[in-house]
Symmetry: C2
Subunit: 316 residues, 2 copies
């Protein structure tokens, strides 16, 4: 397939670098200030090197990538809340052109799922979004295979940064601020970690899971979100005395609640994944409980999910 | 889709019972002695009740199911080794008619994968076989999504009966024969448990995994198989003293080995699933290690995998 990649951060770069290995041609790459477009196939290495040295993949207007010749738009711009712009408009433009869309940007399917699906219903293009929930882990494809009506509930560890902090605090008895600083040094936490540690990122993923399970109707506003900010080390010590630990669990319950918050889990529970790992548990009507775990973030990891989605699209 | 179900054991019955819930029509069901065929849709309840009381789903020649009007043949007859008959011939007949095939019978894809795929290449029908490995767990679909070339190795607990025996022996300090008898009482082990405890079943699943990962070339003969028959309780006790336990692990290694045998794993390792659970770990080039666990057997559980496969087929 011909791919136009909008967004050239960690995930966008990886998608561009791996596309050829999966048999695809990149016909456009855009970042926030420029683009490179070539119907015959962009020279990915040159474009990414240009970005490293000059700040942008090319000197063409970024809008040109949206008008390029492509089969599938890969939307990997940063997640935004509320109106989910500019990601939403990118999705809209591709669908109105009857092109497919694959998202790693959570905004459009977390905040405006119903709008996106209404556009998809009018389009010959399809929308897929495996990469928006738990990185490389095939959560959405598994829900699709089971049939959403046959999945009664979902829960899991959906944010690797928060999980790294909780794991280190419990293992080393260190306090929250200390571990967070360490995570920032390691590049596991961002300079402004609030999106991860306050539960917003996991909340968006829960909204997406709820939309996938219940055929839409959810946004971040519908998720009851609590984070791990300032969690006292004493809470983890108390938990450990009882053979338990604390995890930031996001869940879509059988009775319709959607929430994120720190929860006690037994230390050997499947949910007690360590470090930056993610896990999703699906409760099903006919297939019992399925556990899916693996890396929840990272460039090539998330790009794998994007390219798996591209592979699931019908040819145009 | 219109489904013809050949085989009316535990899995075949569940597929028949759940088909309508997934939007499909059952146009034929066959067991070893009879069949019921109705192009407008078989009355599944009546057919299964007839089997309970009279020993067969119907009085039509079982061959008639293979000639019926259907889009997809669901082949769920018992697994056989070597020539994989009669399953293989059922698959061949469906593909020669340009019909799709979904298998829960391991024989054709474990023992004659290359023959099956050669027939599929000549057919407008496709062959899918998610249900043959680890029941409800989406292993094959995940490999397909990642791209087989991007999965370097796979390993896991692939036989629930053997895992139940090992779990009980370790937890209760009971000996092999005692626990096996208990498993037979519970219906977890069959009257002749050799297929499970000698590693044959796990070996077939490894051959299938190897075929899926390496594009064919494997059969049970290529798998180095050891089982858990007569494993001494003392081996589990020694393992436990060292914080470890024993699991019957099937694996396809990065260097091309395919084998099944009892292995020591640490007690809190992801591979140390308990009871009849299965787990598969996939080592990937770009997405790290993925862990998929859940029920590895059971009627509705395996039927879920069959019906997920049916849902992945292109419409005819």
């Amino acid at each position: 397939m011909k791919l136009a990649i909008v967004g050239a951060g960690v995930v966008g770069r990886s998608v561009a670098e791996l596309a050829a290995e999966y048999g695809h041609v990149v016909t456009a790459i855009a970042d926030s200030t420029g683009a490179v477009v070539d119907a015959g196939g962009v020279d990915v290495g040159t474009a990414l090197e240009r970005k490293d040295h000059l700040g942008s993949v090319g000197e063409t207007d970024p809008e040109a990538a949206l008008d390029a010749d492509y089969d599938c738009l890969v939307e990997v711009t940063p997640t935004t809340l509320g109106d989910a712009e500019p990601g939403f408009s990118h999705v809209e433009r591709a669908l109105r052109r009857d092109r497919h869309v694959v998202l790693a940007n959570k905004g459009p399917v977390a905040e405006r799922y119903d709008d996106v699906m209404a556009l998809a219903a009018e389009s010959d293009g399809e929308v897929r979004f495996e990469a928006t929930v738990a990185g490389a882990i095939p959560v959405i494809a598994t829900v699709e295979g089971l049939g959403p009506r046959h999945v009664t509930a979902a829960r899991g560890v959906l944010n690797g940064t928060a999980n790294f902090v909780l794991t280190r605090m419990a293992a080393e008895g260190l306090d929250y601020e200390h571990v967070l600083a360490e995570a920032q040094d390691l590049g596991v936490a961002e300079a402004d970690p609030s999106f991860d540690v306050e539960g917003t990122d996991a909340g968006l993923k829960c909204a997406i899971l709820a939309n996938a399970l219940r055929d839409g109707g959810y946004s971040l506003d519908d998720v009851d979100v609590a984070g791990i900010t300032g969690l006292p080390t004493s809470a983890l010590e108390l938990a450990a005395e009882d053979g338990r630990t604390v995890r930031l669990i996001g869940e879509v319950t059988a009775d319709g609640a959607v929430r994120v918050g720190p929860r006690l889990v037994t230390a050997n529970d499947a949910l007690a994944v360590t470090g930056t790992q993610n896990i999703v548990q699906l409760e099903t009507v006919h297939a019992g409980q399925l556990n899916l775990s693996g890396p929840g973030a990272g460039g090539p990891e998330t790009a794998s999910a994007v390219l798996a989605d591209v592979g699931r699209l019908p040819s145009r």
